[in-house]
């Protein structure tokens, strides 16, 4: 995953803390945070959030959203059309519903092509660069959820 300079700096300054966290997990990876599904939603946030960062995450190529979705991103030239337009998602779904759709959309529709962004098990032949890691971190999920809830214009 590509990190911008600020994120790299932040990661470096938190490296002691990260080490402590890593040391506590068996697989050498940071453990996923636990969450509770209620109906078709995850009502409680995984971490704090920032909608502006969320928009940047959704539109960054490496996060794959725009492969399939289009949305209110006039500056983005290449947007996919395999799935619903993201415009108005905040009016259609609650924050908790959006969280579950990002964390693990396959719980709602086992056949969906939408990847589970916060899941590491049940996958086959994951490339070494990505193995054992969720596509997005808990922080990124929360930023994206916070951003999507602002998309209220249909």
């Amino acid at each position: 995953m590509i990190m911008d300079a600020a994120a790299a700096k932040a990661a470096a300054s938190f490296s002691c803390v990260v080490f402590l966290l890593l040391a506590t997990t068996a697989g050498g990876q940071e453990a996923l945070r636990p969450y509770t599904v209620v109906g078709d939603a995850i009502p409680a946030p995984l971490t704090g959030s920032d909608p502006e960062r969320g928009r940047a995450i959704v539109t960054a190529r490496q996060n794959t959203c725009l492969l399939c979705h289009s949305g209110p991103f006039p500056e983005q030239r290449f947007q996919g059309n395999l799935s619903p337009d993201l415009k108005g998602t905040g009016a259609r779904w609650s924050e908790g519903q959006l969280r579950l759709r990002l964390v693990d959309a396959s719980r709602l529709n086992a056949e969906t092509i939408m990847p589970s962004y916060y899941k590491v098990d049940g996958l086959t032949r994951v490339g070494t660069a990505w193995r054992g890691k969720p596509i997005l971190s808990a922080e990124q999920i929360e930023d994206v959820v916070a951003y999507l809830t602002t998309l209220r214009d249909q």
Binding site: R61, T64, L66, L67, C68, R77, F78, Q79, G80, N81, L82, S106, I113, P115, S116, L123, T124, R125, V126, G127, T128, A129, W130, R131, K133, I135
Partner: protein, 261 residues
């Protein structure tokens, strides 16, 4: 009420199989090669031999075809004479079963087998300039021929393995080939039109690569896109996928070297 359950049983089995086989596969008469969706400029480039960059590679291949090589000091042309006759249709029926190896081989592997056994030379590496050139030259001799996978029962288990791989969800994005190429062809994946994935034109010139590449290079790109583990070039898994893709594309026209975006 004379039709007993016993007589219906085989029908039920047949229907069950039909249901599995029908799973999302594109009906034969709805199939289209990637060429059908090319932008007019790209299509013009493919159609005009003097503008198609793949033809330069075909010419390199022709020179290699005629060049003596290896300890045997023999050229391909010394055994096969005129490629226009001897190589016509060959790419259209590969991968083909090799009885001695007991498995299917694709056109690149077939070329390397001749190189090692007949010319007594070292095999060319996958994606090397030489192997791309020779396979483009050999493939070009089938241009205009229908894709004709051999009706060889020994290929069946390998083709089925390729088919299973094609329908298997894999990688961090947890997608299968079929979810894009059977279920969503014609739609846009970001800026790219999703083709039906018929390998009619490989090796081909890809504008994005700025180079000619093999079908396996294309498959590798798709696997990496799915964030799945790519196979090593020449791996049996790729050959199995090639077999299934060629069967899926049976009857479509060979257009080597094609041009893609």
């Amino acid at each position: 009420m004379t039709v007993g359950l016993k007589r219906l049983a085989p029908l039920a089995v047949l229907l069950a199989f039909a249901a599995i086989a029908a799973h999302a596969e594109i009906p034969l008469n709805e199939r289209r090669a990637g060429t059908a969706d090319l932008a007019p400029e790209t299509k013009a480039m493919q159609d005009d031999d003097s503008a198609n960059p793949g033809m330069l590679v075909v010419l390199d291949g022709e020179a290699l075809w005629k060049a003596k090589a290896g300890a045997a000091n023999q050229a391909c042309a010394d055994c096969h004479t005129d490629a226009r006759a001897s190589m016509k249709g060959v790419a259209a029926r590969h991968p083909a079963f090799d009885a001695r190896l007991g498995r299917p081989v694709n056109i690149e592997q077939r070329i390397n087998m001749c190189r090692v056994e007949r010319q007594q030379a070292t095999p060319f590496a996958y994606e090397s300039k030489e192997l791309l050139a020779l396979s483009a030259f050999v493939g070009n001799q089938s241009r205009g021929e229908p894709i004709a996978p051999p009706a060889d029962e020994r290929l069946t288990p390998f083709r089925n393995a390729g088919r299973d791989d094609y329908f298997r969800r894999q990688g961090q994005l947890n997608l299968s080939c079929a979810q894009c190429h059977d279920d969503n062809w014609g739609k846009r994946l970001a800026g790219s039109l999703i083709p039906q994935a018929h390998p009619t034109g490989y090796p081909l010139y890809r504008l994005e690569w700025q180079a000619v590449g093999s079908l396996q290079r294309r498959l590798r790109n798709c696997l990496v896109g799915m964030r799945a583990e790519a196979y090593d070039y020449g791996a049996p898994e790729y050959v199995a996928l090639e077999l299934y893709l060629m069967w899926r594309a049976r009857g479509l026209t060979v257009e080597i070297p094609a041009v893609r975006p």
